[in-house]
Subunit: 446 residues, 2 copies
Amino acid sequence: MTQQAYRAHFRCFSGCSGTYPTTQPLYRCPTCDGLLEVHHDIDALRNRSAQEWRDLFDARYRGHEFPYGSGVWGKREWIAPEVPDDFIVSTYEGATNLFHARRLGAEIGIPELWVKQCGNAHTGSFKDLGMTVLVSIVRWAHHIGALKSPVIACASTGDTSASLAAYGAIAGLPVVVLLPRGLVSAAQLVQPLAHGATVLALETDFDGCMAVIRELASRGLIYLANSMNPLRIEGQKTVGIELTQQLEWSVPDWVILPSGNLGNAAALHAGFRMMVDLGLTDRMPRLCVAQAENANPMYRAFLANSETVSPIAAKKSHASAIQIGNPVSAPRAMAALRAMNGVVEQASEDELADACARADRTGLYTDPHTGVALACTFKLRDRGVLTANDRVVVVSTANALKFTEFKLGYHEKTLADVRPQRANLPITLPADVERIAKTIQELSAR
Amino acid sequence: MTQQAYRAHFRCFSGCSGTYPTTQPLYRCPTCDGLLEVHHDIDALRNRSAQEWRDLFDARYRGHEFPYGSGVWGKREWIAPEVPDDFIVSTYEGATNLFHARRLGAEIGIPELWVKQCGNAHTGSFKDLGMTVLVSIVRWAHHIGALKSPVIACASTGDTSASLAAYGAIAGLPVVVLLPRGLVSAAQLVQPLAHGATVLALETDFDGCMAVIRELASRGLIYLANSMNPLRIEGQKTVGIELTQQLEWSVPDWVILPSGNLGNAAALHAGFRMMVDLGLTDRMPRLCVAQAENANPMYRAFLANSETVSPIAAKKSHASAIQIGNPVSAPRAMAALRAMNGVVEQASEDELADACARADRTGLYTDPHTGVALACTFKLRDRGVLTANDRVVVVSTANALKFTEFKLGYHEKTLADVRPQRANLPITLPADVERIAKTIQELSAR
């Protein structure tokens, strides 16, 4: 097995000494309690030339041999080189459409506008990319005795718990979701419940849940799948690699990414960084981190030219998955922003909803987070930061089929803080062929 | 362009003489008023050997070159050979995961149980496979003057209107959805509304709508995208070809297909037929058409050993897309059943819902139609029609994210005609670490 030649391990993101196996249940640096990252042995990976890596990845892309058809495991040497085939839990992640948004791009003056459809995934969000890595490593770590308990836990209400529960169910590993009682409805949890996760509604608040989770993890009773876990970033970093591959290994000028906890910004950077380090590409795209105005701590840091992100109290946003005031991966994301000559932009509730509606009219079907990214794209184009010559990729993080109430609310004009510009509702007509024919002829003439 | 060498045209499904261009707005045989089919010039297609076709399809399958990355257009010579690249409207259809359902298969004694995830598509259903062909041909036909009006219309409330509206929006072609007023809610129409379709709620019933539509079509004001249209079958036939390709061109023993209007059964047969005719495979799989007990006209015909399907009044089913009493494509599907040594099976509301829940516990996330197919699979295995040595592919036709109410109703035990065996709801606990630890340890011991 070629991947056995490669090695990856945890190390401190801030530079403390010491390395740790990725199979060890470790979530923070034992020295400074800061973030961890997965470090790959880049010198070992140089045993293949850039062209050999490109050829290998292209040969595996969407192939039928398990697990290489997965967009994540097709690049396994760069992700999680130690996991043997038999322990990999995969749903054929990635290989999502890079949609050339010709009509929308023409409207806004960016002919090369592309949307990376990460929500078109097994559980309907980009979280699958990271979860396949985390759950596979847990399975492997439990097998070799590095983990006492195979129970995996998280405290998410949304896409993370859905993805974790699905991958746990495929692997036959128990999954626990811990939440404050009364804070979330069964409807928000329908995916983890359907996948048989044990959902514990605790009589406490979110901080109380986190205290319980940390205690359980310290006793070795659960493995923590929260967004601090650097294994998820390893899988998510394939987004940047894959979209470059889909552009025939040509780096786009910009990537626009909706982000709340900021792990995906870190992941995007990690992927582009690795391609440069191994010579597959000669530059990185510029990054735009797109935030909801109601949850914009990184935007504020950017405006203030600050090196650190100060926590804020996030207000309610339709882009619920990025409604985060104190992002876990802020230091990672700030490093990404610097390395990728990035900017941060924000979108109001009104702007994100209308951006969704505008995109939907051109055949996309966009969730509110993609709406944030698109609204920021429109603003950057208006200001001339993006130009007609730029190739721009917007990352769509979730499937809009998860947001029917949001869509319906927009078109029925009942959505909080939104004044719809493009609402569309049924038109009632008598069953009169002449009358209907007239309506249709007006359509054709438009 | 190699595809220019190939030809396809409409002809009568029942054998009347005459051929018609596929760009002609024709929905029924002008001689007998029966169904049409698309006929391909098989002799011309024999200019490539079976191996050459397999190699060509495999090379394109992984490609990034428009439009070949699409599972439909990667096989364009077999589908719609005349349409030039610039007129193709594609969302990178197909290439959906063929999920090896190891856990579910082990539970029921079919180790080689696979689920073809067709719902993981741009609009969340397999309808995209057919719609990309129909809308592309309309665009081309309008360009060459074969169609006066580019307005495309249908009378669907569900996946068909969602798919048509999205493809119309991408192409910039107007889409009209005609429905009886009061019969459907905005929630059921949220996709077509978001895509800017003109939804006309007519003051009449379904028959009245169909009368209007036929009149509009006869005047050349609209192009009809309903399920009678044989162009959609051409795209849908790639399901069988693609799943065989994913099995390294090895034909499975069985394909289990949920079906109501029966067009997809006809399409599946057409794909397998073409592979045999061109020597890519040497046999066809056996077919099981899976119907809801509440809408089972083909099941009744099968039991009665009848050559024809008699219309029935369909009762309400959670599998709403196949709640059809008078299937349009019945003659095509009966031919498929004969050719594929098929069977028809049915599932009650209780059986389909529980099959979904059982599958979801193993990491799938199944819509009610896939539930029908899985319930039929379980029954056929129990009866020994399916054996432990069979390789069985279940076709999943839609994304379960479209069916949140159904999932929630099951787990909250509020679903009509269903007594849930596998309901799962949150468990409320005090924030007591010892108590929670005990609950989790019981999980690990399971």
